[in-house]
Symmetry: C4
Subunit: 349 residues, 4 copies
């Protein structure tokens, strides 16, 4: 089943406020739409008459082998989509041979997620709370549980205006918590998450904190939420091992450049000094191949993963990744590329 | 409540002919739509990892401090939106810490507007009537009432064809007058305002009149209605202290360049020799930040102010400014800018 | 009443097959739509603070004074729109102070049109029939009746596929004839006009025929239907006194460049060596000003004239020209131009 | 009847699953739509005052004379459209004076197609099966039956995802077979054709195989499915006599460049070293003229041929070609071109 169909079914399964939380974007949702159309609008110039009989979509990310360039993004609150939440996602990721990035705002503790799929590659997404002591403890827990990189989200000095959540007075359903934090967002007029984020998250974060995180953890630090080449270069200079080109799924600042647009600039600026990934609007195998052509080593999917999770738990997540990877394989063959390394910038018009 | 919702409610409150007067534009209303979409179509390249914990949206305009770059435009006939009209707007502006520009065509005398919010910054918008003696007296009244700048509207040598007003045979409701003038527009076939403007306003105004106004009043003169760099430069050379890039809310000449488009050219041409402002189509905090990135010192809002006024009088006006300013603050933070001065041209793609 | 409203009313007045003949275009009517939107899509950069109190839209065409740059195009078969047909149009043109171009395919003889408005300026549009003797006689009749220029249509070596006419099996209603020719198009499967044109009109016409026509008639020759600078230059070199940039109202070849697009190229190529006019899609005073900014000396209107004719005969034609001229005047003033000569290329973005 | 109308009628005649097979494209069918709109979006700059009284649309392809530049594409499975299938198409092609390219996947043997129209020009489209011996035998049969060129399809190393076929579980109706192969695609979950193609067709084909085919057959080899200049140059260097710019009717890789876009690049890269043809989205005579202006020697039509075949068998195919050729003739005349050789690149804006 393709992603559009999955989403339609997920909409019937998930509670409306939770669905809106997953599906919605900031303000007028201009970028929400455009993230997707930007990939679709890129035009391919496929090669022919290359031997693609041994096509192989596998790669590595920060040295870890994965069977597909389709990685799982650190979406929050996954138990709203399926009762098993992040543990199901972890098992699905392992089955599909991909990497999962677990959110600070998971509804299952990072330790339980690790236990659910012990041998599978996993990274930990970090929000830095004003309480730096607590933040340091969280990082230590992640390292102890076998997470092999920290993915620092840098595009939330304040939460974006998500009008759907404000209207829905969004908070977690009764019984769910931000398990790593131990609490749920408050029940308020407007968005409970906004109230939480604006009071707890650190708006004074700078490039200097990259070094702090690296030193503290001994883990490679990936910076998520970059849309400019100069910022990416500064992040790498400050020690970042990877950059996720992202506008937070269009949930923070509306009318930014699309991630497809920003990827080209960031990848050119960074060159070989760090790995570059991208998320936002990836819905087809051709989107993945286009991202690789623009310089991405791999892509993250967020909403498609949630629709899969809602539809079938771990199996649903596995199926989404497998189906999208099958599309990647076919797109590679039809582009005359047997491996991701064969995909060059000239593949795009 | 955001501006789209406010407008929908205002449409139910305001008398239809008056609503059309406020909401409508010239001819086919191409520019009316495009003024808004032009801001939305600009793409942001936000910075990350800047310390924005001390964000502050305040600025000054011609030396006067304001708590926000969102200023109030000189819309005519405000008592059609709310019984207290311009006096309510003045109190709302003062409460929100912004500047109000009062129209020659106000439905409350400029003296009464001044009295309503004595300590608040206020400018006076001027139409030059053929009767220059009367015009000089009007300027003297404005100066005596503490208006600190004259905003000369230069894009009405003749009134634009506002088809809605023609169809509605628009004039002021019984009981309202152009209080500074002492009369109401005539009741005629077509637009009464067009009949008034075409017979009374001076179509022979030139750049030389800027000096005349400055000398006469001893006040700084701001030229409103400029869409070209060369005209802006000529106005500054003739003594203008400020330029409002404006197409009169798309009410005069249809299919002009949008104000977002013209702003870049005007700001580059003027440089530091005068302050540049802009109005037309500003509906989101991101629009304001984009205007600043293009070179504006501040923006004016017209219709949003009227929708606020209709919905809640002084409090409604205050709320519109406060809400939009909150959006500006959030947009600044999400762009990595702690102050308006941190917003550069590179923020736009 | 503006042109859109006039057209809606005309549609109710005119017989459906005749309406389709007037309103329709070739093939998929891509250019029919685009001719109009191309003018609307041009963006104006109006000047301010020019003295426009003495605004005057008058001009001359080939030396003949007209009170407006809005001329009347040589539309065929005008008695389908109104019983008085071309004679009414001639009286309306005279009343409005403009020039009428009478079609070879008029439903009133060129002599009767001349008699209807003896003192008014008139040009004669010419189709060259394979029968050159007949053509020469027609030219002699036009000269004898006081037509002061020949407008040679060059874009009909074969008729365009007008799908509406084919479906309607279009021919003239009973009682009407091509009065200059003395017959009506045949009744056939498909378009009767196509059958007539393909059998009678000369597909071997070349630039050499311009000299033939000039020598034969002693009249200035205007070439109508040019869309390229090189063709215009060749026509002028062959003796043309004027060029009408036209795609025949989008009735011949679909998906050509728009006339607004072609005008710039043609006007630049021709320079001062001949007068350049344009038709196709002009619906607003701003369109006329834009055409002048692109290098046109005047414009022709076809369908708007027919809608006026259908609505009110001679008075209807007069009203359309007068209303459009009033829009031109207002657009000039709002652009800071007191005369057509003040309109420069810099008025467009 | 024009092609849109023919398609509507064909939709009522053909069995829904077969109609979807013909009409559909890969994935989101972005390119399916865009192939057509790309031709329509090109703008013509017609010449006037050329003698076009002797207009002639005939040409040659690889030396064989054809009365029209509209050739018939190698669509598979034509007996789904009409009981006589490819034999009817062959007779229609002969009557219209054009060339037919017969598919490997025809539902009539290549020998029977040849017999149906013995004197008419015909090429054979080749899919290379992994079984090269069988492939060589197929080529020998084609040569023995008078096919004068091999058209090697190079854009199917794997089948595209045709969602309609997957949903319909597409296979051939009972009683029909791939007559040259002797079997029908399997009945499976998803597309039976995809199952067949993925198991049988050779994904290891390279440029070297062009020489193999040429040597084996002694026939000129035309490479079909090229979208890039560099691939076209490599194919010519490897011995190709012709290139068909094609994205397989948008049935393989979605969001490729359109064939109109690719044609310009390919034609410029190849120059005079080989003939260049194009297919995909040609629906009007103007599309054909535009293709010639971009460098095509002739065009292929696929779906329009099938709609004609469905509507009227051999006569229906003949009518489609004749009607489209009549449109080509008219477009040539209206562009001032008496022959295809008169159509230059300057005809496009």
């Amino acid at each position: 089943m393709d992603i559009v169909s999955l989403q339609q079914r997920a909409r019937e399964i998930i509670e409306p406020g939770a669905y809106d939380y997953y599906a919605g974007g900031a303000d007028d949702e201009v970028t929400l739409v455009e993230n997707e159309t930007a990939w679709q609008a890129l035009r391919l110039r496929p090669h022919v008459l290359r031997d693609v009989s041994g096509v192989d979509p596998s790669t590595t990310v920060l040295g870890q082998p994965v069977r597909t360039p389709v990685l799982l993004a650190p979406a929050a609150y996954q138990r709203m989509a399926h009762d098993e939440g992040e543990t199901a996602t972890a098992r699905g990721a392992a089955a599909a041979g991909t990497l999962m990035c677990v959110s600070t705002l998971a509804t299952v503790t990072l330790e339980d997620v690790a236990t659910a799929a012990p041998g599978a590659p996993r990274w930990f997404q970090l929000y830095v709370r004003k309480d730096r002591v607590w933040t340091a403890e969280l990082i230590a827990r992640a390292k102890a549980s076998g997470y092999t990189a920290l993915v620092l989200t840098v595009d939330v000095p304040v939460l974006g205006r998500r009008r759907r959540d404000e209207k829905n007075k969004f908070t977690l359903p009764t019984g769910l918590t931000m398990a790593n934090v131990g609490t749920a967002p408050p029940k308020v007029e407007g968005s409970g998450l906004a109230a939480y984020a604006d009071s707890e998250l650190d708006a004074s974060l700078t490039f200097d904190d990259i070094g702090w995180l690296g030193g503290l953890s001994g883990l490679p630090v990936v910076i998520k939420g970059v849309l400019r080449g100069d910022d990416a270069v500064d992040a790498v200079a400050a020690g970042a091992a990877g950059i996720v080109v992202s506008n937070h799924g269009a949930r923070q600042l509306d009318t930014t450049v699309t991630t497809a647009f920003a990827l080209r600039e960031v990848a050119e600026a960074v060159g070989d000094r760090a790995e570059v990934y991208v998320d936002g609007g990836i819905r087809r195998g051709t989107d993945v191949v286009k991202a690789v052509a623009l310089g991405a080593r791999a892509v993250f999917i967020g909403r498609p993963m949630l629709w899969g999770l809602a539809n079938g738990g771990a199996k649903g997540v596995e199926d989404v990744v497998t189906e999208l990877t099958e599309e990647v394989v076919r797109a590679l063959m039809l582009c005359g590329a047997a491996r991701l390394d064969d995909v060059g910038a000239d593949l795009l018009a």
